[in-house]
């Protein structure tokens, strides 16, 4: 248990681990018949690997890595559309750095930049708005990517652009929501999940009620968690305790940051600017009903889809198959471990990613590679 030394409070960690073991034994969890807990958020996936939490807890507990990394679930076609936008001479394409290396059919944004497209990595959509002010003769397109934590930032930036009359600024909206794919996963008969660790910073925005259906309709426990290692262990214990007591509830382990009803100002801004799309395509998961957002008609002037006729704004959308030999879909739904993918560490590494799960440290494959080199070898032997 060498990992425990990494904790600020190893004594507390030992206590929680012992409690987890007691409950796991009580409900009869074994490596053959494990309790399967999905951590939804990519930040949690990263923390679990960084601290080796999956190796530390009772062997009857299996972590399934959820779809909560926006870069990882981005379909290749969307990357192609970004490249298409970025290659227009009038466009300055702005994006978060995370999206730069996601492979597209022809190239990634990083390659497009090397080939001369004007692509800027920004920290905030407000940086892109400022670029629009400073470059009135150019079209500034911001790649709106991310879950509910990020969506308010682009909504508020568009509202600011509207107030200031900045018309050479638009959002290429690919925002997605957390609850919709969870419903899809719970409806999938192959998916055997016993409970969830819910995302912390997403919930800071939306609150805990959007998860009510998980407990009420599907009878599964969910515990919203912070991302310190102790937070995660506590949350696992809370999920197990619910299972042991035959309860299924939405609990909030991270109440010090997550208010029950979220952040009302952010929710209102998102509602004003965006509306749900009928369906949206997820890499590895396919089309999911009402899982993505698009801009409302009132904000069409700032909608890159309408302005440039790309993406869901195009008349015909090309279908792009996933790259040959890529098992991203199976990994993302917990049906396959990253190490079981034929490309893992061969055709696909963080330096030269083939699939999106290898691109970001929040992706399961990159996490396995970064922290699980030894484990990968063990698995291969």
């Amino acid at each position: 248990m060498k990992y425990v030394e990494e904790f600020r409070d190893p004594v507390a960690a030992r206590g929680v681990l012992a409690a987890i073991t007691a409950v796991a034994d009580r409900i009869g969890a074994t490596p053959e018949a494990p309790v399967r807990i999905m951590e939804i958020c990519g930040g949690h996936t990263h923390a679990i690997f960084r601290y080796g939490l999956d190796k530390m807890v009772h062997p009857g507990i299996e972590f399934i890595h959820g779809p909560g990394c926006p870069v990882c679930v981005l379909p290749m076609a969307r990357v192609d559309e970004c490249v298409e936008l970025a290659e227009r001479p009038e466009v300055i394409f702005c994006t978060f750095g995370d999206a730069m290396r996601v492979p597209g059919t022809r190239k990634s944004l990083l390659q497009a930049k090397a080939d001369g497209a004007d692509i800027r990595m920004v920290y905030s959509p407000l940086d892109a708005l400022e670029l629009a002010r400073r470059n009135p003769d150019r079209e500034i397109v911001f790649f709106g990517l991310g879950f509910e934590t990020t969506t308010p930032s682009t909504a508020m930036s568009v509202q600011q652009a509207a107030r200031d009359g900045v018309m050479n600024f638009s959002i290429f909206c690919n925002h997605i929501t957390v609850p919709a794919p969870l419903r899809a996963l719970l409806n999938d008969p192959h998916m055997m999940l016993d409970g969830f660790v819910g995302p912390g910073h997403v919930s800071m925005v939306i609150g805990t009620h959007p998860y009510d259906f998980i407990a009420e309709e599907f009878g599964k426990p969910i515990v919203v968690a912070g991302f310190e290692p102790l937070d995660l262990l506590h949350s696992v214990l809370m999920v197990l305790t619910q299972i042991a007591e035959g309860r299924a509830e939405v609990e909030n382990q991270y109440a010090r940051v997550v208010p029950e009803h979220g952040n009302p100002i952010s929710i209102a801004a998102v509602d004003a600017v965006y509306e749900p799309r009928p369906s949206f395509e997820w890499r590895g998961l396919g089309e999911i009903d009402a899982s993505g957002l698009r801009m409302r008609d009132a904000f069409r002037a700032w909608d890159a889809e309408a302005k440039f006729g790309v993406g869901y704004g195009a008349e015909v959308r090309a279908a792009t198959p996933e790259p040959e030999g890529c098992a991203c879909g199976a990994v993302m739904t917990g049906r396959m471990k990253p190490t079981a993918c034929a490309q893992f560490g061969k055709g696909c590494t963080p330096e030269m990613p083939l699939g999106a799960l290898m691109v970001s440290s929040e992706g399961a494959c990159a996490a396995y590679w970064q922290y699980g080199g030894v484990r990968a070898l063990e698995a291969a032997e």
Binding site: A47, S124, L126, E130
Partner: protein
């Protein structure tokens, strides 16, 4: 990219646009206070907030800020965010 980083509000820079200067691990960055602007902006001076892509998303206490920062450092995410802020600055200045 989904994690916020703690910062302390040090100065209101543009009251109309609800913008303020925040100190994020010694780096100064202008952020929007809109999501947490439930009262007079001055009340937020000196407060710790969780900043995500340039927006203060929640007011937190100093202990939570310190613990969150340490967790982010453990994951390497604090450094990544500070680099992204610097990169954003370069993008504004047109340095490719």
């Amino acid at each position: 990219m989904c994690l916020g980083i703690p910062g302390q509000i040090v100065e209101i820079t543009d009251a109309d646009r609800q913008m303020a200067m925040a100190d994020v691990s010694g780096v100064r960055r202008e952020v929007s206070l809109t999501p947490v602007a439930t009262g007079p902006l001055e009340d937020l001076l000196g407060q710790w907030v969780l900043i995500h892509v340039g927006f203060a998303m929640a007011v937190i206490d100093a202990d939570e800020a310190a613990a969150t920062l340490e967790a982010l450092r453990g994951l390497g995410e604090a450094q990544e965010t500070l680099e992204a802020m610097a990169e954003g600055q370069r993008a504004l200045e047109g340095v490719q």
